[in-house]
Symmetry: C2
Subunit: 426 residues, 2 copies
């Protein structure tokens, strides 16, 4: 079974190492030995984390995936192009593909899945979401007889590391980010992580699998964590909550559509996701019969991601030997992703208010006007420190947004100090 590897960076070099170190185990598990047919790289002379036979290296990725003797292509280049053309070319040529490319799957998964169908090959992508955590296979296969209602995931290790530091040490966002950069958990340009782009791509993939529909990253409502302050974190803590950046895929109450979004949210400290520390990832799934499930582990890094790639490689190789294919893309349900305004959530709001009688009455009236029901109110401080802290019952995002706009216009409200959605305690 001949394997072509596209990319030899952090993940690719670990894939080569594991294919070499575990070759006897892999051969026994597959029923045939794996052979590395070639490795496509950008520059031949570069120093690498792993020893590679120079004869295997090539800068002509297109020629490598076109080779007749290649059975399986592993793509760990990332990004949209040339990854897409290479994968499509491999699949169209009847090869099977294993990829870790979340951005591509979330932008144009349909093209890849169609090419797989046309070429009668497999397209596996466990490594694209939550690194080493076996998550896509359980969603695609183990829960195939169940009905997933909701997925709540911590799918970005960088932001979890930052929020965890802010929670445990009281650090500001900027200081926590700097520490994450020093330790290699965050990149020099942290935008993709802290603005939620990375998590949004993963959310799109998860929603597609959970709801058997096609979802692209463009349909994901996305908010990052850059505006979270040490005060927000402390105030959440005081109320028994912790702030996490969540990827949330939730079926609507009538079951006919779903929402998919990435934003910071407060979750109760008793929730299984609350204990997910440092750069770990975890995904919480609520299914009708299975109930609550959680999958926890390392979401990134060379070796963990390579482990997921190798698991897919074994499955794909077994399928080819048996002349079979794994489960195809499943989009039969074809549900609609509804806009953020239709999403139903609870909300935590801190208002700086005038310290005089009747303030609560006027604020409560405004909430009522927008049909947003209040669960708890706490009045705190005096004079210039007077604050109202409100937690609402479930309401549509449109109603909550309108309420916040109304609050900003009330003369007795000096400022809307913070607004944060609350998840995981219904």
């Amino acid at each position: 079974m001949k394997v072509a590897l596209l990319g030899c960076g952090v993940v690719g070099s670990q894939v080569i190492r594991l294919m070499h170190e575990q070759s006897a185990d892999l051969a026994a598990r597959i029923g045939a030995p794996l052979e590395l047919a070639g490795v496509a790289v950008r520059r031949l002379g570069r120093k690498r984390d792993v020893e590679v036979d120079p004869a295997l290296l090539t800068t002509d990725a297109e020629a490598l995936v076109a080779r007749d003797d290649v059975d399986i292509v592993i793509e760990v280049i990332g990004g949209i192009e040339p990854a897409r053309s290479l994968i499509v070319s491999a699949l169209s040529g009847g090869k099977s593909v294993v990829t870790a490319n979340k951005a591509l799957l979330a932008e144009d998964g349909a093209t890849l899945h169609e090419a797989a169908r046309a070429g009668n090959g497999d397209l596996y992508f466990e490594a694209s979401v939550a690194g080493a955590i076996p998550l896509l296979r359980p969603l695609r296969e183990s829960l195939a007889g169940d009905h997933v209602n909701r997925v709540l995931g911590i799918v970005n290790g960088t932001t979890n590391y930052i929020l965890d530091k802010m929670d445990t040490t009281g650090a500001s966002f900027t200081d926590a980010l700097e520490e994450a950069q020093t330790l290699g958990y965050a990149e020099a340009d942290p935008t993709a992580d802290v603005e939620g782009f990375d998590a949004a791509a993963k959310a799109a993939i998860l929603a597609g699998l959970a709801f058997h529909s096609r979802v692209t990253a463009a349909e994901v409502h996305r908010e990052g964590i850059t505006e979270i302050t040490a005060t927000d974190v402390a105030s959440a803590k005081e109320m028994g909550y912790v702030i996490k950046l969540l990827a949330i895929c939730a079926r609507s109450d009538d079951g006919r559509s779903f929402g998919v979004r990435v934003h910071p949210a407060m979750i109760p400290r008793t929730h299984p996701l609350a204990g997910v520390r440092e750069a770990y990832n975890a995904v919480f799934v609520e299914a009708e019969s299975a109930g609550q499930l959680m999958f926890y582990g390392k979401g990134a890094g060379g070796a963990p991601t390579a482990s997921a790639v190798l698991g897919d490689l074994v499955a794909v190789a077994r399928n080819r030997l048996a002349g079979a294919r794994g489960p195809e893309e499943s989009t039969y349900a074809d549900l609609r992703a509804h806009p953020m305004g239709e999403t139903v959530t609870r909300c935590h709001v801190a208002l700086d208010v005038a310290d005089k009688p009747g303030v609560l009455a006027r604020v409560a009236e405004l909430f009522a006007k927008h049909d947003v029901s209040i669960q708890t109110v706490r009045q705190e401080g005096h004079g210039d420190d007077a604050q109202l802290v409100i937690v609402t019952h479930r309401a549509t995002d449109a109603a909550l947004t309108a309420t916040m706009e109304g609050l900003r216009e009330l003369d007795i409200v000096r400022a809307v100090a913070s607004v944060m959605r609350v998840e995981g305690d219904e």
Copy 2:
């Protein structure tokens, strides 16, 4: 695709309900509709939790599995016989089988797997361990390219409920058991749960999958939780630990054998398994490349178990449609399960001792004599309450056992008040 169901109890009736309620989804996911061909029961007239067409019911299970038009057999009777004969008969007849029968798999899995191979059918058993939690598929498939070193699992909900109550309320074992029985978490005869038999069967299945070897329940070292006192629980709590009944499968340091055991153990409260409350299950896996993974969810109950059965049913049905088979039993590594004496653990020991100088020196000398190195010692109390609390470094169980025997013979030791293994903080 015709399905025969053996057993219509708590799980079987949920399988029927889900097959009915989700029939359109299941057909779309499989690519062909499922049809219930018959349901084998012990008594025809019995009242059931689900409506079943009386024409489908039969007491002749053997005739049902022999029917030519049946493609897939689901076995949820449990126990060794007649389940084994029925499954073997179905597999020998070329049918695929989905079973939740942990006891049978742990006692005589080899016979079932051989019958599956001979008949060229599938044998799937996700529901046999940790109910709804997708665990066996990840171990069998997602981690097929990795090297599992250790599995630590809370795989019995009844005992976790009891230990959690003891931990949170300070209740005695007897009171916590009684509460569990009242709430339906424990059976009238709780032996299979509290003595660890149920967990031991699951440990055997997990070890077989993790180490690609054949393991039976007889090879599992087993200790229950009946002797755990409120004092043990309180003392663990004080030290930042919690007591859990763990199923542990661990490769030896030289990688040439493994240990498989079920016993109560102290784990640090910071360990992800420590937060597993009530009757939930969770399995913690350490793999060489993937690192630490955890799978969490409901380990029992009709609907959760049925969800796992249905997931297998979809996979098996897809395989048959494609003329393929899922992954076979993988026992190529053929590692040896070593006896408990060779298992290496840490240990927490509380000794009631004489309150006089030189006691610690003599106790320490005895540990040294057996090559057991001490990590921490705490001296507590005075006079008749004088106690030494010792936590050891890693040592073989044989050395620890010999040390305990030696301690019991020391005149300065009034009693070995408690001995408990410590896991999860190396």
